[in-house]
Symmetry: C2
Subunit: 142 residues, 2 copies
């Protein structure tokens, strides 16, 4: 779409998990909290620049990740945000928060604490997500 290319900082900070209809699905390489990032594959900086169809797709993708966080990871709260002060390419954070995580109740942006994913922990999370998405697709098409 529109000669889209992922911002280099987003690329270096994250692990690519896959693609939805509108967005790339990335995982912040910080195992301290389950921190997903959706990047619409188009040239935009603000949410309101998306047209109605694109906004609906993005909202659906946010909902899907939110449900995964609640149903599979049993998070206590979900933080959803489009900020972009540092990386202007439109991207939406969908972060699962626990009342005992490293930053609670504060937000996680700008914090320096970080723990790279161990391969096993990453594979477990990616596998759980893949299974969730497959089941969801099946359920929606029955």
């Amino acid at each position: 779409m529109e000669n889209f290319s992922l911002d280099p900082k987003l690329e270096s900070d994250t692990i690519k998990l896959g693609e939805f209809d509108l967005s790339l699905l990335l995982l912040m390489d910080n195992a301290l909290v389950p921190w997903f990032i959706l990047v619409p594959k188009l040239n935009a900086s603000e949410l309101y620049e998306l047209d109605a169809d694109q906004q609906l797709m993005l909202w659906t993708e946010i909902n899907t990740i939110s449900e995964f966080l609640k149903e599979e990871l049993h998070v206590d709260k979900i933080n959803v945000a489009a900020i972009g002060n540092v990386v202007p390419q439109l991207h939406v954070h969908v972060i699962g928060r626990y009342t005992d995580d490293f930053a609670w109740p504060h937000t996680v942006w700008g914090r320096i604490e970080r723990e790279e994913y161990e391969p096993v922990k990453f594979e477990n999370l990616a596998g759980l997500l893949q299974k969730f998405l497959e089941n969801k697709t099946i359920l929606e098409t029955i």
Copy 2:
């Protein structure tokens, strides 16, 4: 709707500007940045709990405030976020940011800097918004 009542902390931190179809429109009483908060008038804590119609209404309201921030206040960036770690009642921050504001490029949540609105400054902002919303409504119904 659903015996909705505004969370006391949101009420004490903000000035009520008005109501959209879905949400109350509040202004954070901090003149350091133009900081709006939309509170859907229903009992929810997470965005994904809204049904499709409610999500569409909320997205439309976020768009409207975003356009106001860009077109009338000429902000450099918009920060949109549903966090709710402290106040669980669903509310969406729509904040205009300037590259020379007090916190740029950091986020504004959890910062202690604050400046109450002078009455004249508040009236100017509220008047500008009211005019913008009236024009928008007229334009949309022509």
